[in-house]
Symmetry: C2
């Protein structure tokens, strides 16, 4: 294995969910935004934006949506947006129609811009000695979130990111061995659940050793578990409605 500072940070990534009661400095914020802005962007269309949520009421509302007590608690909260509002305005000023902006293709491209930027921002934060957690849970109630953030059409909240000074030291969570996720030329269709027996033991041991432990569970047991059966009684089934409402994927 090759090692350098960046790689070692990546190999040791842990999501941090408990932060000390410090806010990021203006310099730290500018540094994170600059790293985000230099992310690869599809066709140079730069279709994402970031909302830094400092307003206590909005933070509380997002915490309620996500149902995670740490969301909007200590640490800085960012919501990454798919953003075609800007490009729609540019086209309007040039006397052009919206072209492809309302297609599924463009929604995917802009989502990719935003999601790649999330990872770059988290990597930047970790390199600065900060920690962070990517928040998919902001989409537990997507229509409500759009309302809370007062988002115009042609924008969509795709992921949250909370960043701050770590106040916990979680264990490294074991990932699927590489032979199950990286293939040469052909997808490995002959995968069997039983191939993961050793990995299951490793995951169960991880939960067993975890300080703040609630469950001791294998990987395959989690995949077969009730969270994938029917979800957590959230409004995530409204994602298509929310995407359509914001003006996207009108061709679906």
């Amino acid at each position: 294995m090759i090692h350098n500072q960046t790689l070692d940070q990546q190999f040791n990534h842990r999501s941090i969910r408990a932060f000390k009661p410090h806010s990021l400095t203006k310099e730290q914020l500018t540094t994170l935004y600059t790293a985000a802005s230099h992310t690869s962007t599809s066709n140079f269309w730069q279709q994402f934006s970031i909302i830094h949520v400092t307003d206590p009421e909005k933070r509380a509302a997002i915490r309620k949506i996500s149902k995670q007590p740490y969301v909007g608690a200590n640490g800085d909260l960012f919501i990454f947006l798919v953003d075609m509002y800007r490009n729609q305005k540019i086209r309007q000023a040039a006397g052009k129609d919206d072209g492809l902006l309302h297609t599924t293709d463009l929604f995917q491209q802009a989502s990719e811009d935003a999601i790649l930027a999330v990872q770059n921002t988290l990597t930047a934060a970790e390199s600065m000695g900060l920690g962070g957690v990517i928040l998919g849970s902001i989409k537990n109630d997507p229509l409500k979130l759009i309302q809370v953030l007062n988002l115009p059409k042609m924008t969509f909240p795709i992921l949250g990111l909370q960043v701050g000074v770590p106040d916990q030291k979680p264990q490294l969570k074991p990932r699927l061995p590489l032979q199950f996720i990286a293939f040469d030329n052909e997808y490995h269709r002959d995968f069997q659940a039983s191939d993961l027996a050793d990995y299951d033991k490793e995951v169960a041991q991880y939960y067993d050793l975890r300080d703040t432990n609630k469950r001791i569970d294998s990987f395959t047991h989690q995949i077969a578990g009730e969270k994938l059966d029917k979800g957590d009684n959230n409004h995530r089934d409204q994602l298509p409605d929310a995407i359509r409402q914001q003006g996207f994927s009108q061709d679906w």
Copy 2:
């Protein structure tokens, strides 16, 4: 601005599209896959995989789909998959139905897993002195690509990534100034295309200075241009069909 090795690499990211005729070593591959595998994953469901495409025929077919001469030329080519095939098998082995696997929500979550991993892999490569380019163009003909890669249902090719030893030194492409992409608490609805006059000059100058220059163009002129009018005569309008065909987003 804060500086360290990782941040400076991020601030100086350029997409590299010309590579020397070297293939990655096994150690380099393992290092990239390890960085990818440690990416944050929604609910610990680990719903992505990577296909390393070395087969010359497949590389040529993907080059034809992407319509980019550098795709599958020098450098190592990876296709990142949304992958619920593995988790479907695990649920079947446990006697469970597919639960949420066919929902838009799960397709988004798995896409996020895969896209975050793409950025992490590119960051890892750049830290090793390699260069790379993220390939959205593999989706110019999504049904054809699925056929070329012989992908089973419950997998979907979301992005490509080509990595290698750089054989070019492109200029740094100027990004939107931060005030246009990072907001506090409220989305800035009062944006006007004319606010970008200075940025437009900067982008035009970038194209003017570029060695392998084909166009001299401002940002707003590109956004108002024909590529966003109607695309490039590709099959990207078949993305919804391709996603559905693979078993995803059945609730849309």
